[in-house]
Symmetry: C2
Subunit: 112 residues, 2 copies
DNA sequence: TGAAAACTTTGCTATATGGCGAAGTATCAT
DNA sequence: ATGATACTTCGCCATATAGCAAAGTTTTCA
C-alpha cells in the first residue's frame, strides 16, 4: 500500500478523526497554555496514551510544545486547521444546494 | 481501547484522511453520477481496494450508491462535509489571529 | 445457453493505531 | 543526596487499515 498518512492534509484530517484529540484541541482553544498533566487530568486514558495522541497532533502540526523546567506547555497551531477548512470550503456551494435538487440530479443522471 | 471510529464526525474526518478518498469526492463533485468503474479508471489501485475506500466513504455517509442494472452510480452526500466544516469553523477566530499575537501569548503564558 | 461485464466478497499479507504497565530521564524541593 | 514530580520511552497486545489475487454474484448481450 501507499504510505499511511503521507501529506500534511492527510495527517491533519487523521488527527481530527479521534474524539480525545479533538477534545485536546478544544481545550487548548478555550484554555491556552495548559501543561500536559493538566490536559491529561480530565481524560479517561493514561499518560502514555495521551503522549501518543499528542504525537499525532504534533505530526499534523496542530500543536507545539514549550518546555519550562519540567513542565511542558502545549499550544495550538491554527494553520493546519485553516487548511483543512479550506479543503472543505470548496464543497460549500455543493452542500448549499437543497437535498431536493440533489435527488433530482441523481435521477437525471440515472437516465443517461 | 475505545472503539475506533464511533461517532459520525470521527468517521467523516477519518474518511477525509486519505488522498484516494478525497480524490473520489472531488471527482464526484465535478462529475456527478459516475459509476464505480469510471471512478476506478484513473486510480492506481485495483477494484477491491477502491471498494474498501467506498465502504469507508459510505460508513461516513459521504456517498450513496444507486444500482441500475449492473452499474452502480455513486453520488456525493454533502451533509457530513458541512458538519466537519462546522467543527472547524469554531476555530476560525483563532486562526485569524496573527501568528505574532500567538507567539506573544505563548511567551506570556510561559511566565505564569 | 453461454460468455462477458460490473461489481462484490473472501481470504491473505504487512503495517499502523491506541491502549497499558513498567522503566527511564530530567528537574525541583528538602 | 534523596525523593518526588513531570514527562518520555519501551515492550507488549488487540484491532484496524490498505492493499492484492482469486473466486463469487448479478445483469446484459450474442
Amino acid at each position: 500500500m501507499a504510505k499511511y498518512h503521507e501529506t500534511p492534509i492527510d495527517r491533519t484530517f487523521f488527527a481530527l478523526a479521534d474524539p480525545t484529540r479533538r477534545q485536546v484541541l478544544e481545550r487548548l482553544k478555550s484554555e491556552p497554555g495548559l501543561s500536559i498533566s493538566e490536559l491529561a487530568q480530565p481524560l479517561p486514558i493514561k499518560m502514555p496514551g495521551l503522549m501518543k495522541h499528542l504525537a499525532v497532533l504534533s505530526d499534523a502540526g496542530l500543536i507545539s510544545r514549550t518546555k519550562a523546567g519540567r513542565v511542558v506547555t502545549v499550544s495550538l497551531a491554527a494553520r493546519p486547521l485553516s487548511e483543512a477548512a479550506d479543503w472543505l470550503h470548496h464543497f460549500e456551494a455543493f452542500w448549499n444546494v437543497s437535498l431536493d435538487r440533489l435527488a433530482a440530479l441523481v435521477e437525471e443522471e440515472g437516465e443517461a
